[in-house]
């Protein structure tokens, strides 16, 4: 089963929920793959503490032109949907950072003047968790090169890296655009983590619209549920969205988090909470 943990708003507790679920399910003996798809700011590794066993570069294909063969027909520029290719009267100029690596220019070149080379966008990291009592938890995550705009190919590489397992957990980036969609697409279930504030509700609504556009089943987790207002509950009732878990504003969770510890690791009662959450997802 593939469960994606997403949110519109950042800082609602996606990583807290993802690592809490990963830790609990792995301690119960399940083989868990945790995929941290927030490649701009990955941080699940701080909690899962993996022993790095693999670091590999990830690239996207970009075209190169053989000036000897090129006839300056302009077809490469015409078929490029991303305006990454300019055909000048005597040469072709390529803007690598705009290229999405779709290969259309290479495919359509009538004289086979174009070939592809790899442009590095970041690295893929893999490692097994070193947490006590956990030996079937694998973490995969990407680190996007600073300044790189092309996050989606790296997110896809993280998704592809998942090994055989019982449960795949995807820690998605915040927002509702391409990187989030690349992270949650193909999941069996999406958990949306929010907080009971006007800001949390507004971004939850955006995230619900996104998940519904992808036609995936979803439910909500309300984090810091004992603060703020009740508007998130009203919204979920009106929209027929299940709230599968409410995590109270518990100072002990914040303390564990501040030391880089998973709540369920130091507060055993939360292990049952995450177990119930998993069963709730499976049954819905």
């Amino acid at each position: 089963m593939i469960i994606a943990i997403a949110s519109g708003k950042g800082g609602t507790g996606k990583t807290t929920v993802a690592t809490g679920l990963a830790y609990t399910l792995a301690r119960d003996g399940r083989r868990v793959e945790l995929l941290d798809c927030d490649v701009e700011e990955p941080n699940a590794h701080l909690f899962v503490r993996p022993q790095s066993d693999c670091t590999e570069p990830v690239g996207v294909p970009v075209p190169r032109v053989d000036a000897e063969k090129c006839t300056n027909c302009g077809l490469c520029s015409e078929v490029c949907q991303f305006n990454a290719v300019a055909c000048l009267p005597d040469r072709v100029v390529i803007a690598d950072e705009l290229c999405h690596g779709c290969g259309a220019c290479v495919h359509f070149c009538p004289v086979q003047a174009m070939t592809e080379t790899d442009r590095n966008i970041g690295v893929l990291e893999s490692g097994r968790s070193t947490l006590d009592g956990v030996n079937k938890l694998h973490l995969r995550y990407g680190r996007l090169r600073i300044g790189e705009a092309m996050a989606v190919p790296l997110i896809r590489a993280v998704r592809r890296a998942a090994g055989p397992c019982d449960v795949t957990l995807i820690d998605a980036p915040p927002g509702t655009s391409c990187p989030v969609i690349a992270a949650v697409k193909g999941a069996d279930f999406v958990l949306l983590v929010t907080e009971p504030t006007p800001f949390g509700l507004n971004d939850l609504q955006l995230a619900v619209e996104m998940v519904r556009a992808l036609e995936l089943p979803l439910a909500v987790v309300v984090n810091r549920s004992t603060v703020g207002d009740r508007a998130v509950w009203d919204y979920c009732r009106n929209e027929n969205i299940d709230i599968l878990l409410e995590i109270p504003d518990d100072r002990r969770i914040a303390e564990a988090y501040s030391r880089g510890l998973i709540a369920a690791e130091v507060l055993p009662q939360y292990a049952q909470t995450f177990r119930d959450l998993y069963l709730g997802i499976r049954d819905s």
Partner: protein
């Protein structure tokens, strides 16, 4: 020689458009007889990305030897430079004023982009 002036209208009385890649029109002007043809840049005006690159390609295709505009980003600059087209910055005013300044040699040629691109 033929030059392109970016403008918000189709003749020399139009204002110089301060943007290059997303200029409203390219006025192709013959500096000898001041004849003008206007080329719509609507396609790049609405482009999600890469407007400067396509605009540079289109200007090169028009056979211009120089561009007079308000600002130029890094990729447009790169394409224009590759095409051997010189770039001059005009502070504002009408296309006619910019043309006079160009002919009088009072516009500064730029050797680098003066604006960052959208992705930088």
């Amino acid at each position: 020689m033929k030059i392109v002036i970016t403008a918000d209208g189709t003749d020399l009385d139009a204002q110089v458009d301060p943007r290059f890649g997303r200029a409203r029109y390219f006025l192709l002007v013959d500096t000898e007889d001041e004849s003008v043809t206007a080329h719509d840049n609507k396609q790049n005006l609405n482009a999600a990305q890469g407007a400067g690159i396509q605009a540079g390609q289109n200007v090169a295709g028009l056979g211009a030897e120089a561009v007079v505009t308000g600002n130029v980003g890094p990729r447009a600059f790169g394409v224009l430079q590759s095409a051997g087209i010189k770039i001059y910055l005009a502070g504002g005013g009408t296309a006619r004023e910019a043309l006079e300044q160009f002919k009088a040699g009072s516009l500064q040629e730029v050797g680098a982009a003066n604006k960052p691109g959208h992705w930088m």
